[in-house]
Symmetry: C3
Subunit: 379 residues, 3 copies
């Protein structure tokens, strides 16, 4: 493989502004704010819902719950990835019940109305006897869909922002990690009793690492983060990994490098939050992705996938569990403190508290959140 250009990191220097505080209580506990978020953020933004490798061939599908909607994501006969509302046009019946599978066509289990992989109604018994019934008017309702670096993004808005504009700030940034070609080895689903924003804030700082993650803190010094994106919808940077080690239970690399990793990046883990629902963690030997799916003001479903180089699978040195077990342990440590925060924040004694200099990214994340909600100057 020919070496590619180094990623174009911003050279701006991050500075910490004293005075930033945690969010007021209502953002983390009120049903009203939750509803507003579901409308203004999760119904209008591009949301990560999977990776193209999870739809390997025509007819493969995933279902994903988004803002209370079940969506069918599938690869059609022409190889395109498409998304549909999982709702029959006859009597509204849920079409696909499984989380994933393979289909020739989409047949409703109730009265056998049948749709092609492109969503067009191709069979509806007895409906030819109904005056004025037109199959073409009864296709499945489609949902907007985009691919970025191989990840599948969905958007419930009628006129979503163009994805090429939205993702422009990240153009070329992750080329070396070869993300579109990677394959998922494992998905773990977590049901966390905490507001999704607490999980984003938690991901965005390592001030908590010494007490919460003793194993992680040995491999990556908690105070050595270098952020290159520190305002806006995409935030993060890298942390060094002790040379000769990897973020695994054994401390050793567990797979082939995911891509054309360059120089110091062999000893770095890159952590980025992609507003609103994706956390992207790029290691030399694997890529971990969290999808956040808020269920209520105090509950979030989290899907975590681990991706590896496609050639890594089946090799004798491939030990994905070494990484998965490491992060499953670390994830659970995080969810636990997020749940404790959720509990305390619900108290009448809670007041926004002061962020430390080690929490500049959570503070920036909060600003972006308030901006998206249209409340940056009101909180």
């Amino acid at each position: 493989m020919e070496p590619k250009a180094a990623p174009t990191f911003h050279k701006t220097v991050e500075t910490f502004t004293s005075g930033a505080k945690t969010l007021p209580q209502r953002y983390l506990t009120s049903q009203e704010v939750f509803t507003k978020e579901q409308e203004r953020i999760f119904s209008t933004h591009w949301l990560c819902a999977g990776h193209q490798s999870q739809l390997a061939k025509a007819g493969d599908y995933l279902t994903q719950e988004v803002v209370g909607e079940s969506l069918i994501l599938l690869r059609d006969s022409k190889g395109e990835v498409r998304g549909f509302y999982n709702v029959c046009r006859h009597r509204g019946t849920r079409l696909c019940e499984e989380k994933s599978g393979h289909l020739q066509a989409i047949q409703c289990p109730y009265h056998a109305w049948t749709y092609g992989l492109d969503g067009r109604l191709i069979g509806a018994p007895h409906m030819d006897k109904v005056d004025g019934f037109d199959r073409a008017e009864h296709s499945l309702h489609a949902v907007s869909l985009a691919l970025w670096e191989g990840f599948i993004f969905v958007n419930l808005a009628e006129n979503p922002a163009p994805p090429e504009t939205v993702f422009a700030p990240l153009a070329g940034k992750f080329t070396h990690w070869n993300v579109p070609s990677l394959r998922s080895a494992k998905r773990i689903e977590y049901d966390v009793r905490a507001n999704w924003k607490l999980i984003c804030e938690n991901y965005s700082e390592c001030y908590h690492c010494p007490l919460v993650h003793p194993t992680l803190a040995k491999l990556t010094p908690y105070d050595a983060a270098e952020n290159d994106l520190f305002e806006g919808p995409f935030l993060g940077g890298f942390m060094p990994i002790t040379k000769g080690h990897s973020l695994t239970m054994s401390g050793n690399a567990c797979a082939l490098p995911v891509g054309d990793i360059q120089g110091e990046d062999h000893h770095r883990v890159f952590y980025y939050s992609l507003f609103p629902n994706m956390l992207l963690s790029l290691h030399p030997d694997y890529v971990m992705v969290h999808q956040l799916w808020p269920q209520s003001s105090d509950r979030t479903l989290i899907l975590c996938d681990w991706f590896f180089h496609p050639d890594a699978f089946g090799r004798p040195d491939f030990r994905p569990d070494d990484a998965i077990e490491f992060w499953d342990m670390t994830n659970k440590q995080d969810w636990h403190v997020c749940e404790l925060s959720q509990q305390g924040i619900a108290s009448r004694a809670y007041q926004p508290g002061p962020y430390s200099p080690r929490e500049s990214i959570p503070a920036a994340w909060d600003r972006e959140y308030l901006r998206a909600l249209g409340e940056l100057n009101r909180s």
Copy 2:
């Protein structure tokens, strides 16, 4: 037995009107509509709550939850069936905890206030020392009750419509099935995560039978229904059963005929919905009855009883499980697709869909429902 007059079926011919659509979303998902239904329909209509054979002798009782109210239904010392609110007049305590049983009198388990089977307060320790206390003013609150074809109907309204007027359209219709004399062999209770109206619509058509009920569809052709009641609170008709067969697991009759079944009726199953909560299925060898008890906009408790000729019990050819197992399987197939419909209808993508010519009875049922809710021209 002397042959009786044939049932007087209406001779009007059913015609299908193109253009009928399924109900708008709010009727199937909103808490507000649910509350309105509980008030305007379930608190004012006659509701099937059992059969007189379930109260064989004086002192036998059932309890039934109706619109959040626990009712005691019992046979009193004079042999009359009566209904009372299950609430002590002293401190409001629930009197009977069991679903059924036998009583000499109704004694409150808290302070021993005691009521006769006619509801009159007959014992209240120490209350004679209370100035102005009059036992006669502290009888149990009664609920209106009627018997129709041996079935017990209750009505929570203060001035319910006369049952003889309400049931007049069905007069003489089921005489041959001997319904008042039948005995229940089995009750199964189902907790279904679907709106009660989806269950009524499902009961009212066999368009879904080929895919949902492969076993049933072999014994009774899905497209051969002949309806004789196709507008109003009572809807339905018959479907032929393959000659020499019965709707049982084995395909054979499982009991003596329930009554004086005539001619072609030996090969017919009659399905009627009695608005709002009763589904009456008359087979040559048994009668099945569903009671629907809505719990919320997306949940319905269903009681299903199987009734047989009283002389059938104890005979060597009595195999009630052959019928019960058949319909328990078929019921569960129905509940499953109703639950899938409930899920899909909650979507923002749901729109009322077109009924097929095989769904004229669900369309008529919907009209009757909207009429009862006072919204026929508003939906």
Copy 3:
């Protein structure tokens, strides 16, 4: 031990006023009333939350949920009992997760902010780099706390009524029972599906004893209560115990006398309700205390502790289970009828019913409750 002065019982004679009725439905079923109670009663009154013997040495702590707030109750380095909201001043995290334990200092499990046992912030990594950050402004939020007869009372009000004024009517009343020195042998927690007021009413009369408590009714005649406090926040009196017996499974005393019990008090059990959340039951050989913690209009958590003379522990004649088992059985009998009342009172058929002459204390309790809610003349 030198005999102390006899308790000063009021000599007023209790008279029963005919005409008192049970509370209207809304007080026992509405969410709105529950919220009002939580604000006007449970957020402003002194609430029993434990006994000083449960915090034996410096660093011992309990956590207790009060009106949705988790509180830390602890003994500090100077031996004082203190209370704090269980909420970190940094990001709001719950500090203590356990129900009880021992601490040197209070360290937040998230980012290691650390507080002394007096609540002062003594450690906050990296915060010295934040302009204007002052540790003194980030102590734990304290909650008002008082000791009465060795019991720990908390009060969430900003300016609570002085406890010495509140408890003045009970001054000297329980001296003989030696309550501050007693030790708890056992706590049982009950989750009861009934409004807390039904539990207070139930505690306040023995009219229900013949049917509900056959074992208790044999040891203490249900109609022999002599009340000495019969209006106001503290209500109750004594009931005789058959001579030579104790309220235990065996009927025998199970421990040393709790204090300097005098004359007839050897054969008496004293039952007092201390509005709003404490039920105090003084026996010759043990003291039982119920704490009531309303969770919703139809659910109450109840903590029940049994206290004994500190010298009783370890003696061969110490059989605490004989008393605990007796009252655990009796408690459950009570909770069951309270749950039945809750069910019946929710009915549209419920109307306030007439109290009997044996229910004068429940009637007085209801008046005090309505007074506290500011609705005595409105119900």
